[in-house]
Amino acid sequence: MQTIAARTFDIGYMDALAGGDTALHRLDARAKVVVTLLFIVFVVSFGRYEISRLTPFFLYPVFLVSAGELPAGYLLRKALAAAPFAFFVGAFNPFLDRAVLFHLGPLAVSGGMASFLSILLRFFLTVTAALCLVALTGVNGACAALESLGVPRVFAAQLLFLNRYLTVLAGEAGRMARARALRAFGAPPPGPSLFARLAGQLLLRSYARAERVYSAMLCRGFDGSLPLPGRSAFGRRDAAFVAAWAGLFVLFRSVDVPRALGILLTGLFK
């Protein structure tokens, strides 16, 4: 578990990354959202034992990281931090599915081992793609894209609000936790009853803040509808981006590129 300060920093840092200025940052947010969703669907559409055919898909996150000038190490650490559930459920596979799938020299690879590796690959691909999307688009851009893709306005506004007050309330929670830790001389985290009171206190502060925010909104002429960030135009570059990647995904899905390469390689070395 990260410290509260680190998690708060994380949120700000991802938004700061989205402030970059590369060709990828300048693309319409809708294009990036659509391609990322396509990517995820294509990646998870393979059979459970698939390993090698997933590898061409690494091209997409690698491209986003390098062309978008994103910090690869940071995104990797973030992806690994999210791994436990997929790892936990997938780790049963080698024990449950013990039929031998193929032989790698003297080593017999069971179906469970292959599917576990496949789960880890899928996990890594889907998570890094999603993280890259946020790092290139930012929450504001993603919300505007979602709204123009048909997500209800109330929900898009809710996402924006949540994003705006996340760091504020996380800071509040962090200060409460620090105050308790200072007075408790390094005692372990509180028990449930004290925790409930701490959370209740935080809830009261949230209510108070919501009331102040509401008054401030009224002062600025709030009439029940929230203005969302403006949309950019969906240009030819955006269409080209979507078309190029969609074409590549279809190619990777329908032609076994690694196998073709492998046959070529093993053939050449004979």
Partner: protein
């Protein structure tokens, strides 16, 4: 208990997206009909509260492990089912985006497991029934504990169903159920107690918040309508997706259970055939003496007419090619970041 993209199939993920998307749209309409301006900032801030409260953790007595607040039930109690569901959905969306907790494709599943069951089943059917309209402290406490427990049990069962239906994990249904339900019984009791603690704190400090919340008209009839609509949406979405799977056997495989890899071999037939021919030619070239243990199997594979039913690309040639592809992808990345100017071409070619 966030589902991950890696564990679900497109059919399950897509179906749950449609279902949760429908619920979000339905709730958004209900919230707009309520036309309570005050709720707009309150929903946002309470979502942030759930996030912040989840960052605080506490020690579970006698175990030494730590837990944190779930949140769905508190949101439903404070905001009502529709707004509570929207806030929970937004929290899960931000978690999926920022912290990679659960994936984008699994988002539909997660919203359903953690939002639908608590806000639309446990809250109206358990919490409201027990707590009633008054502000009786004991009833509210009991209702919070039970409702949180029921919501979490249903959510855990949802995770099991979705995982098993996806067929990526090899865990059989029975084992997985026996694994998940007891763990979440324990977590649910603790979460229920925490929820009750927070609600009773609020009852002492700001009773008017709770009385306003409980004065809201209960959702009696509309929940049945929502359930019917939901079942219909799920059936249509699931049916459409599996129809898509059966009519396009050589395209994307949307099917939940893959039985054979034959279609794939045929779909790549043209290139595959040429490469096999190329490989046969190159194999005649003698004298390189570079014979790996992997050699013979890789050599046999392309000449086989029928591919073994279970695997399509897990042969040694496939693995070698996979590694090579990875290297290529990495090299492409290095090249791109070396040449910043390459970023000017957004098409990625």
């Amino acid at each position: 208990m966030h589902m991950a993209d890696a564990l679900i199939s497109p059919a399950v993920g897509g179906t749950m997206w449609v279902v949760s998307g429908g619920l979000v749209a339905y709730s958004a309409r209900k919230v707009r009909e309520e036309a309570d301006d005050r709720k707009v900032p309150l929903m946002g801030v309470l979502g942030a509260f759930i996030f912040a409260a989840q960052m605080l953790n506490f020690t579970i007595p006698a175990t030494g492990s730590s837990g944190h607040l779930g949140g769905g039930m508190i949101l439903a109690i404070l905001l009502g089912p529709y707004a509570g569901f929207l806030v929970m959905a937004s929290v899960l969306t931000v978690q999926a985006l920022f912290f990679a907790d659960g994936g984008l494709l699994a988002l539909g599943c997660n919203i359903f497991n953690l939002g639908f069951f608590t806000c639309f089943l446990a809250y109206p059917l358990v919490y409201r029934r027990i707590a009633g309209d008054g502000l009786d402290r004991r009833r509210i406490m009991a209702a919070s504990v039970l409702a949180a427990l029921v919501g979490l049990q249903l959510g855990a069962f949802g995770v099991v169903l979705e995982t098993v239906a996806s067929g990526i994990s090899a865990l059989p249904f029975g084992t997985f159920v026996l694994l998940m339900q007891p763990i979440h019984l324990a977590i649910g009791v603790v979460e229920g107690l925490i929820t009750a603690g927070v609600v009773s704190f609020l009852l002492e400090a700001r009773p008017e918040i709770l009385s306003a919340a409980s004065a809201r008209r209960p959702i009696g009839v509309s929940i049945r309508g929502a359930l019917v609509a939901l079942a219909a949406a799920a059936a249509v979405a699931g049916g459409a997706l599996s129809w898509f799977a059966s009519t396009r056997p050589d395209g994307l495989e949307w099917s939940m259970f893959r039985t054979s890899g034959k279609e794939e071999l045929e779909s790549g037939g043209g290139l595959h055939g040429k490469l096999a021919a190329l490989q046969e030619k190159t194999a005649f070239l003698p004298g390189y003496g570079f014979r790996k243990a992997a050699g013979p199997e890789a050599g046999d594979a392309p000449s086989e007419a029928a591919w073994p039913a279970v695997d399509a690309g897990t042969s040694v040639a496939g693995l070698a090619g996979g590694l090579f592809t990875l290297l290529l992808a990495g090299a492409a990345g290095l090249l791109l970041s070396r040449r910043r100017s390459a970023a000017r071409n957004p098409a990625g070619e």
